[in-house]
């Protein structure tokens, strides 16, 4: 996979007189030249507003935009492009489902079920909609390895649950949840499931049909595409019945002061001028990932994560947080008596970029009784040398604090 490193200009630079070692892809990944170039190409040649014009540029912009929709539909194996809604990111996708799908169905006898492992974006929208509707938010527990306890979650499912919303992969710990099993159990009770795929989509092959997920959401910027792009996949029959979330241009058929008729899927949910150049880049990113092959990415990263977790054990005072049996992409850790921020700063001065703090997953931190961790996360462009630099950097941290 080292051959792909040269495709990423951002990782081929020096930081603080050291070669950059970028181990923060779980926060946001870097873009290959093909994505950066496609954004620029689009802006230089094809830009215009979409769907609204009959001149050539408007047509080209619409083609670029709709081609990405087709690419994504193929990439995750959706039934058709009506199931692919463009949003600004995972956060917006979840808010959309909370407000449009759940809010009308919720009342004081109803529940939303999530887990203790979730990112704030998969907690706060549920807290808010539950408060708005006097319904309750139920939290499925996790174990000491940092895994959702699947049986406990399943035992919490009954007809009062309006939706289950869980992450496919935890951003704080890398734990892979037993999504398929949970979905099967949920469907037996007639309960739909939203899967937060922000941390799975860049790392493993996702097939929404095989998972039988009702909603699947993710962000472009974690899969080597520009920020400000995201996807809400939803089963067509669910999306059909949902009222619009945002409203404005493009999502209507007819506007009269006496009443407005909404447009069909997917446009009903895409009010206003979308992030067309970002979507152009997202199409290029999907093309890039497909060219390499998700299977190759998965096995490369698996080897690397094994290497990282075992090398990290050599660092004095280290405590690995999150030891799920099935884990991908990230390793969280703490160092005895050293705050994660101090680790981050001293590593940064050696060119090693990791994330520190609560990773927008405060309840996970609370569970482990810590205020934060240091987290090294992987992408297809990382290699063993990166990990060696991380480990060397951590020795240095210990030395400063000794």
């Amino acid at each position: 996979m080292d051959a792909y490193r040269k495709d990423f200009p951002a990782i081929n630079q020096s930081i603080n007189d050291n070669k950059l070692v970028y181990l923060d892809s779980a926060a946001s990944s870097q873009m290959p030249t093909s994505v950066i170039d496609e954004v620029a190409r689009y802006q230089m040649n094809d830009h215009a507003n979409v769907h609204r014009g009959i001149h050539t540029l408007s047509h080209r912009a619409t083609m670029v935009y709709e081609k990405t929709r087709q690419d994504l539909s193929d990439f995750i194996n959706a039934k058709n492009t009506n199931e692919i809604i463009f949003t600004s990111g995972t956060t917006e996708s979840i808010n959309l489902v909370a407000q449009s799908y759940c809010r009308p169905k919720l009342n004081k006898n109803k529940k939303i079920l999530i887990s203790h492992l979730e990112h704030h974006s998969n907690i706060v929208p549920w807290q808010i909609v539950c408060e708005q509707t006097q319904s309750s938010l139920e939290i499925a527990p996790i174990n000491n390895k940092g895994e959702i306890i699947t049986e406990d979650l399943i035992s919490m499912i009954d007809e009062s649950v309006v939706l289950i919303s869980i992450s496919h992969v935890s951003n704080a710990l890398g734990s892979v949840s037993e999504v398929k099993k949970i979905i099967q159990a949920a469907h037996k009770n007639g309960v739909p499931v939203l899967v937060d795929g922000a941390q799975s989509i860049p790392h493993i092959k996702v097939d929404v049909e095989e998972l039988n997920a009702d909603f699947y959401v993710f962000s472009g910027h974690k899969m080597h595409a520009p920020t400000g792009t995201g996807i809400l996949y939803g089963k067509e029959d669910l999306l059909e019945k949902m009222p619009p979330y945002k409203s404005g241009g493009d999502m209507i058929l007819e506007v009269k002061f006496t009443g407005t008729t909404y447009n069909d899927l997917p446009y009903k949910f895409e009010a206003g001028t979308p992030n067309i150049s970002g979507i152009a880049g997202l199409g290029a990113a999907v093309g890039y990932l497909r060219k390499i092959g998700m299977i190759n990415i998965e096995s490369h990263e698996k080897n690397l994560l094994d290497y990282m977790s075992s090398e990290l054990k050599n660092v004095d005072g280290i405590n690995l947080i999150g030891n799920a049996d099935n884990k991908i992409g990230v390793q969280s850790f703490t160092l005895e008596n050293i705050h994660s921020h101090d680790i981050g700063t001293i590593l940064d001065h050696q060119g090693v970029a990791i994330r520190t703090g609560h990773h927008c997953a405060m309840p996970v931190m609370e569970f482990f009784g810590i205020s934060g961790t240091a987290r090294a996360s992987l992408a297809l462009y990382n290699n063993k040398e990166d990990i060696d630099c991380l480990v060397a950097g951590l020795h240095k941290v210990n030395e400063v604090f000794s």
Partner: protein, 159 residues
């Protein structure tokens, strides 16, 4: 293989000369009982949380303590704050806090403020200006201190 050149001297220097000394053994760590003014500071980026307790008499700060969790830099900063502001008048203490916070956001190499110039530890701490992501760690305690005297704001956030 790892490819590490030498660090910039200053970051390890800052830690070694100042930060670790205070952080590993902070001054005035703890709480004061209920008649003291209490002020809370949060840094949402890191989840750091600081409580500062101030007890005054005749407009002079008699006791000042802090507790909470934070990185070495924020703990060291709070520790220094309590040492520096103890036994000063409230108005003097506020002035020092304001000057120090504005010093941190300035581009000057060397402080023009006499108090800061003459305080060796504060002068060293100003080196954090070179590590802009950490300025808020230093700021947290000083802003939390100031908000104790501002009725509107009781929770301070450095972001």
């Amino acid at each position: 293989m790892a490819n590490l050149k030498s660090d910039k001297a200053d970051i390890t220097k800052l830690y070694k000369e100042l930060v670790i000394k205070h952080a590993s053994n902070p001054y005035n760590f703890g709480s004061l009982k209920s008649d003291a003014v209490r002020s809370t500071g949060i840094n949402p980026l890191c989840g750091d949380k600081l409580e500062i307790y101030i007890s005054t008499h005749n407009d002079t700060i008699k006791k000042i303590r802090f507790e909470g969790v934070g990185c070495a830099i924020s703990i060291a900063s709070a520790s220094m704050l309590t040492e520096i502001l103890k036994d000063t008048s409230i108005s003097e203490a506020k002035k020092i806090a304001w000057s120090f916070i504005s010093e941190l956001s300035s581009n000057r190499e060397l402080s023009e403020n006499d108090f800061i110039k003459n305080n060796k530890e504060l002068s060293i701490l100003c080196a954090v200006k070179d590590f802009p992501t950490r300025i808020k760690c230093v700021n947290l305690s000083w802003q939390t201190f100031l908000s104790a005297f501002d009725d509107d704001i009781k929770i301070t956030s450095t972001e």
